[in-house]
Amino acid sequence: MNLQKNMDLLEKLTILSDAAKYDVACTSSGVDRKGTGRGMGNSIAPGVCHSFSADGRCISLLKILLTNECIFNCAYCLNNCASQVKRAAFTPDEICTLTMEFYRRNYIEGLFLSSGIMISPSYTMDLIYQTLWKLRQVHHFNGYIHVKSIPGADPVLLEKTGFLADRMSINLELPTADSLRQLAPCKSRSTILRPMRQIQNRITDNKQELMVYRETPRFVPAGQSTQMIIGATPENDFQIMSVAENLYQKFQLKRVFYSAFVNVNGNSNLPALPGGPPLLREHRLYQADWLLRYYHFHVSELLSEDRPDFNIFLDPKCDWALRHLEFFPVEINQASYQTLLRVPGIGYKSAERIVKARKRNRLTFEDLKKIGVVLKRALYFITCSGKMMYNTKLEENYICENLMRDKTQIPRDIREGGYQQLSFFDKEMRSDFQLTDTQILPPGQRVSSI
């Protein structure tokens, strides 16, 4: 080990927050817990964002590594054992002090603790466990804790840690076993999926125990999440989304996160991405992820072997609707909740409000607007009391052309992004996304109308 000695807290925090920033998950959601009247801390189910960093991402938790010392050699990671970076390690007490003092000043909603692998996976996991134990038992911290499972650590340690944490996660890192073997030779699918399964089973058992005896200690009450790096390896969107769907269905994950690849250590075996990280692709994956979790979509409806990547110009729901015009128009005052969910411009909350509100009044377009429906997208696909909003045609090219005039199809921050300037006709970007002309331009669409 080449840990530096005599480092003060500020220097350690500098190194170990910098090293933790590529982990995406910073959510504090999924668990409602009242305060206990002693110590400090409570938790609310929707989670709370405490700040937004210069990259515009939410800061909810104190996201740090226990140490950036690491015996593994994952190619994409800045902390791999071959890289020449300053190494530091927190003691459990230092982490407790930072967490408690930040929490009482309301800087954070809790702790997100990850780590490089020091000495061995079990040694590292044990330090993580000790830290959590101190926070919960000595400092009576009752706020949110998200902790990483270290691949290859002793299952007994994982289990003990799970009773102290709200959420646990283990990163899948790359969508396929092949890519993982190439870029992270010290990790394998089985050292990642085995602990994931273990925690899943324990959560299920715990739910049963809680039904029998309500005072049973809770095991990972906010569930598990994972993360995949997007754009470092050649997988297409179809492969990535299929993996995500599997994780939701077979491992009951709460969230899958997608992280646009940044080549942090200039590794020549990895893509250089001169146009910046593939943010638009990441955005489309998140949109599709929501369609899986909240809108009852299946990956097979959105993508296929023949159409393996998302349309970059239209969000996945609009894209789906355009290819399924036989489904429309939908009558707002009659359609089922499931049907409403499929309409572009109607979110799951609006759909719920529509179903409740129409019990008393026949809804008009004016009402829909007030309810929160985005009419500029929805108007092509719906009727209110049998009438369309305007005299629009139910025709693919016509609707497509109009939808693409809506600039919000590509979010403003990506369109005008501070760092990455997007040009639709940028060759490099096109190759990043592995798109051909026919995929970029829907049939019948002329370049000039964009």
């Binding site: 500020l10 927050s17 933790a20 920033k21 409570n42 210069a54 515009g56 909603e109 501070g418 760092y419």
Partner: protein, 264 residues
């Protein structure tokens, strides 16, 4: 038309609702407002509401019992919301919307469902007001910053548009039961005070000792520095995007958040 003039606070609005109901003028002939009119309309009778905490409490009790805790909270949030008028068109009066929503709720078999009926203009207005106040309160649960003063008190200053102190006071009393803290709402000159181990209360802040607020505990600046360091380091350089940052934490919140004000 009988028009009840209330002040813009929850107790006055609830008193107005009590008086309007008790007046028996008929709901269709009654209107409530929190804004004194510029021009008094002919043929309307104006009645000034005198805030009465007993009446307000009675209204609150009835709403809780008949509409349930959740709907009651939404109505309170609406009552605490700022009435913003966009453009020339005047939006429906807050107090009037709440009154007529309650009238409808009490006529329903299940009053707790009243906020479902968004096709009703009054209900829609209450829903929007409540959401606005609720959203701001939720943002402040995260954006509020405590500073530890010399005497150990945790002090936070906020400039909210809506009167969100009751919601913040409740949240932080549950979260920090063993702290003495004070949340100062500088827009409405009110504060929520929480003495260690007790419940919180609201108070006026005329005689707030401004000088005391500038004297920090010895460790305070150290933790601020640690936090700001963390804040800078956690951003990914390749994704720097100030537009997105300002979209997510609006400038009006930034003024009270140390990592944005403490130039480093």
């Amino acid at each position: 038309m009988y028009i009840f003039l209330c002040e813009d606070n929850i107790d006055s609005i609830f008193t107005g609702i009590y008086d309007a109901w008790a007046s028996r003028y008929g709901h269709a002939n009654i209107s409530l407002t929190t804004c004194p009119p510029d021009n008094y309309t002919l043929f309307s009778e104006y009645i000034t509401v005198e805030t009465d905490y007993e009446k307000s409490e009675k209204v609150a009790r009835t709403l809780r019992a008949r509409l349930g805790e959740e709907t009651y909270t939404e109505i309170c949030q609406a009552a605490c919301a700022l009435e913003e008028n966009h453009g020339r068109k005047k939006a429906m009066d807050k107090a009037d919307a709440i009154y007529h929503t309650i009238v409808l709720a009490l006529a329903l078999k299940d009053g707790s469902k009243v906020l479902n009926y968004l096709g009703e203009p009054y209900v829609n207005r209450v829903f929007h007001l409540s959401r606005k106040a609720g959203n701001e309160a939720h943002h402040l649960l995260g954006f509020l910053r405590f500073q530890e003063l010399e005497n150990g008190l945790l002090f936070a200053r906020i400039h909210p548009k809506n009167q969100v102190l009751p919601f913040l006071g409740e949240h932080f009393s549950d979260r920090l039961p063993e702290e003495n803290f004070m949340i100062y709402d500088a827009s409405h000159n009110q504060a929520a005070l929480h003495p260690k181990g007790k419940g919180f209360f609201l108070t006026d802040t005329q005689d707030l000792n401004q000088e005391m607020l500038g004297r920090f505990s010895p460790e305070e600046l150290e933790y601020q520095k640690l936090w700001c360091t963390f804040f800078e380091n956690i951003a990914i350089e390749a994704r720097i995007n100030p537009k997105l940052q300002n979209q997510n934490i609006l400038k009006r919140f930034q003024q009270d958040v140390i990592e944005f004000t403490r130039g480093s």
